[in-house]
């Protein structure tokens, strides 16, 4: 665990440095004082829910990035592939943000065991390795239906996690991020349901 932490701490500044696309002027209305997400700090006030949310969503999002990569490469319709690519890009930056906040709090950036928010009443997470692997093997003809249904569930789960954070979290930055997660995933759900139903 310690080794992982160190690795992330080393990687984070590198990612920041690698972000050569950083704007030359502070143009972002949402956070005018920073130029990349990696510069945004969370602040010292946080509770266990904030930590749990970031750890769970970071883990969840790594799965999401795997699914989105498969979606981008196997989707037939450009609209589906473009959505997968845009999700992949924005969630990669979100992952950087989440890990840097956990590191700022000196908390592990990974979870040892994937826990479903439904675990207490027998529910397994909607996404497991089996689901991700099924996307690699499903026929081309059935791919988009499989991908959209699995990714819909995945993004519904993100909304569920965000809602818990909004209800129980303490850190203002993390709660604002949870609101972004909730809003963006709900809008992605709209797009995916429309794509699914042609």
């Amino acid at each position: 665990m310690k080794r992982r932490l160190v690795a992330v701490a080393l990687v984070a500044p590198f990612l920041l440095g690698a972000c050569g696309t950083a704007p030359s002027s502070p143009a972002a209305p949402a956070a005018p004082s920073v130029q990349t997400v990696a510069e945004i700090t969370a602040g010292a006030t946080f509770n266990a829910n904030d930590v749990m949310f970031l750890q769970m969503l970071a883990d969840h999002q790594q799965q999401g990035l795997e699914m989105a990569a498969i979606g981008a490469s196997r989707a037939t319709r450009p609209d589906v592939a473009d959505l997968a690519k845009a999700v992949s890009l924005t969630e990669t930056d979100e992952l950087t943000l989440m890990r840097s906040w956990l590191t700022e709090w000196q908390k592990p950036t990974t979870v040892d065991k994937r826990v479903s928010v439904h675990a207490d009443h027998g529910g397994l997470p909607s996404t497991t390795d089996d689901e991700i692997n099924s996307l690699k093997t499903v026929t081309k003809k059935d791919f988009e239906t499989a991908f959209l249904n699995l990714f819909l569930a995945h993004q519904h789960n993100a909304v569920e996690m965000a809602q818990i954070e909004l209800d129980k979290g303490a850190n203002e930055q993390t709660k604002a991020f949870a609101e972004r997660v909730k809003e963006s995933r709900a809008d992605q759900v709209q797009q995916m349901l429309k794509l699914l139903n042609g």
Binding site: A28, T90, D93, V111, K113, H156, Q190
Partner: protein, 257 residues
């Protein structure tokens, strides 16, 4: 394996208890295509649905109901036939696809038309496969019909309910939503059954260079928009959504000029 499970739970003991409290409000599955009533609400195709718009997977209620909301008073809008739910034209054999947000052990999946059971798929308490779909013969029920699909959970008293409005036999193809073999046929028919589109989600006009950023717009790589007094160029083609406006959070999509 057990040791691995115990460790994080012990470490995060306080957090774990929070999740237990929160979980009853969470939920687990619905029919996504052909679109169920809650899917139409979540897609924004039918508006003013209330909270179901953000949790189409939440129509949970004790087993045995024949109502679209399963008897769950929070979602009584789903029983309201006056909302003119658009009926999807399908062939006489239709494949129903599910979105599952938690994989519960499953007793059965049951389909009813006008209160009559037309198909049952017994899972014998198994955990659902990666994707769940069922093909149901509706040839005895031509015309406009409301199908009630029920997911009976194996290890709780509850079930999940979805009503799907169909025009059986009204489709040119037998299973239009299941197998998009090519791009054209699945995209083209979308306009007709969508009776109440929201303006923000159906805009398909290409962005003219330098126009103000707006949600629901298809942007292509290289398009230029203005937002908050600054100009940005699109780096990855996408259809815009709220929270994907140009900002420090979306540098991967929008590069400040």
């Amino acid at each position: 394996m057990r040791r691995k499970i115990a460790y994080p739970l012990a470490t995060l003991g306080m957090v774990g208890s929070t999740l237990v409290i929160a979980s009853p409000a969470l939920a687990h599955g619905y029919v996504s295509s052909p679109p169920s009533r809650q899917a139409l609400c979540a897609a924004g195709t039918v508006t003013d649905c209330g909270s179901i718009q953000f949790e189409p997977q939440s129509v949970e209620a004790p087993k045995g109901s024949k109502q679209c909301n399963g008897g769950n008073a929070n979602f009584s809008i789903l029983n309201d036939n006056s909302r003119s739910w658009p009926a999807k034209s399908v062939g006489t054999s239709t494949t129903f696809n599910w979105v599952l947000t938690a994989r519960h052990r499953t007793a059965s999946w049951v389909y009813y038309v006008d209160g009559t059971e037309v198909a049952t798929f017994n899972d014998n308490n198994a955990i659902p496969e990666a994707t769940v779909s069922h093909t149901v013969d509706l040839s005895k029920f031509p015309g406009k019909r409301t199908v009630l699909a029920v997911w009976n959970i194996g290890d709780t008293v509850n079930a999940f309910y979805s009503c799907i409005d169909l025009n059986v036999g009204g489709g040119a193809t037998s299973t239009p939503t299941v197998a998009p073999t090519t791009a054209a046929p699945t995209v083209a028919p979308s306009a007709s059954p969508t009776t109440a589109p929201t303006s923000s989600t159906t805009s398909s006009a290409p962005a003219s260079s330098g126009s103000a950023w707006a949600p629901g717009t298809s942007y292509q790589t290289g398009d230029v928009v203005t937002f908050g007094g600054a100009s940005y160029t699109c780096r990855q083609s996408h259809r815009s959504i709220n929270s994907w406006e140009p900002s420090v959070y979306t540098l991967a999509l929008w590069l400040p000029l």
